[in-house]
């Protein structure tokens, strides 16, 4: 199994101007390519995880042209705006936070890696958002809208085109994930 800290978090290098940015998705593809090159890889690669890690699995499988053939989405939000950060269009301060990811790795290169971290203050940015297509300025100077980040209907179109097997798990009282699970099912439904 390969476990990866996304850029700008944990012990990984690089900045993370905003969550799930295109460069980060490209990182997933590069990791999948690296895995395929290893002697222990039989060519069958899956990805998955809880919440954010489920989103990364879906985006990796959608972007990687069949390098990732199966994904497990555990409590993964299907719409970052409506299901997670802005239910009903209202800023969810119960979820958003203003810090950076915790670092729990003591590797020698850690200090060097962390020095490159430059993460968005999610809470401060969210408080300026009025709509799903409001744009926020990331630390790299570029502007992003929530509508362009995370799993979208287009992600599922790609998963279907790439013939990816999807196992999605959600529970009541994790409303973002439960509503998302139904939403993900509907994405598939709409496509056929």
């Amino acid at each position: 199994m390969v476990s990866v800290d996304v850029r700008g978090t944990g012990a990984s290098y690089g900045p993370r101007p905003i969550d799930l940015v295109a460069r980060e998705v490209q990182d997933y593809v590069e990791v999948a390519e690296w895995v395929h090159e290893q002697s222990w890889c039989n060519g069958k690669v899956g990805s998955g995880g809880i919440s954010y890690d489920g989103i990364t699995a879906a985006l990796a499988a959608a972007a990687s042209k069949r390098l990732v053939q199966a994904i497990v989405l555990l409590f993964a939000p299907g719409d970052l705006f409506e299901d997670l950060c802005f239910p009903g269009g209202i800023v969810n301060t119960g979820l958003l936070f203003d810090g950076t990811m915790h670092v729990d790795n003591e590797e020698a290169q850690l200090v060097e890696a962390v020095a490159q971290h430059d993460n968005l203050n999610m809470l401060a940015s969210a408080k300026k958002v009025q709509a799903k297509d409001s744009i926020v300025k990331a630390n790299n100077g570029q502007w992003y809208s929530m509508a362009s980040l995370g799993i979208t209907r287009e992600t599922f179109d790609c998963l279907i085109q790439n013939d990816v097997a999807v196992y999605s798990l959600a529970g009541y009282y994790d409303s973002g994930s439960f509503r998302s699970s139904a939403r993900l099912h509907n994405y598939t439904f709409y496509t056929f």
């Binding site: 209202i90 301060t93 119960g94 936070f97 958002v129 709509a131 439960f178 709409y190």
Partner: protein, 176 residues
Amino acid sequence: MKRPITYPDRLAQWKHSLGFATKPLTQDWALVGTTHVALTLALNPGATDTAIFAYLDNYNPVSGVANYITEGCIRAVHRASTNNNNNNKTTHVGAFDTIERSYLMRDMLALEDWTTVEFSLEPVAYLVPKGNVLRFSLAGADTDNYYLENIKGLAQSWRIDASRSELLKLNIVMSS
């Protein structure tokens, strides 16, 4: 997440909300899926937007304990919906996607005069036992979990037209 979200004392919250309750149920009610709410309301003069928070609770009148069932919220300027935008879709009571919204800037609409605002509560499967009371409550804020200070023209009060509102559309499976 900065902390677990819990609702330890719903009775205390009831004091801050507008509540509606059933009589003690004469049989078990199994709530399945998504509950829908349609409120026809007017804001105080000068206000153009509001946040509406709604909660369903299960109250045991014998023990005096109230348990949270589900909740939902909507910012009124985002109320525009594109229901049934897919020809193949059949919506039904309890379906999670009966109300679809874009949440885009071009669809934001100030709330003026009497207006009907529809929204959904989070989907759930929950058994309210016979003898208990189902309580529905409305609030204009949830300061523990939601930030409203970025809302321009935020209402200080509402009036609700009960004759043009549908407080709850529930998917209830009766059991004996």
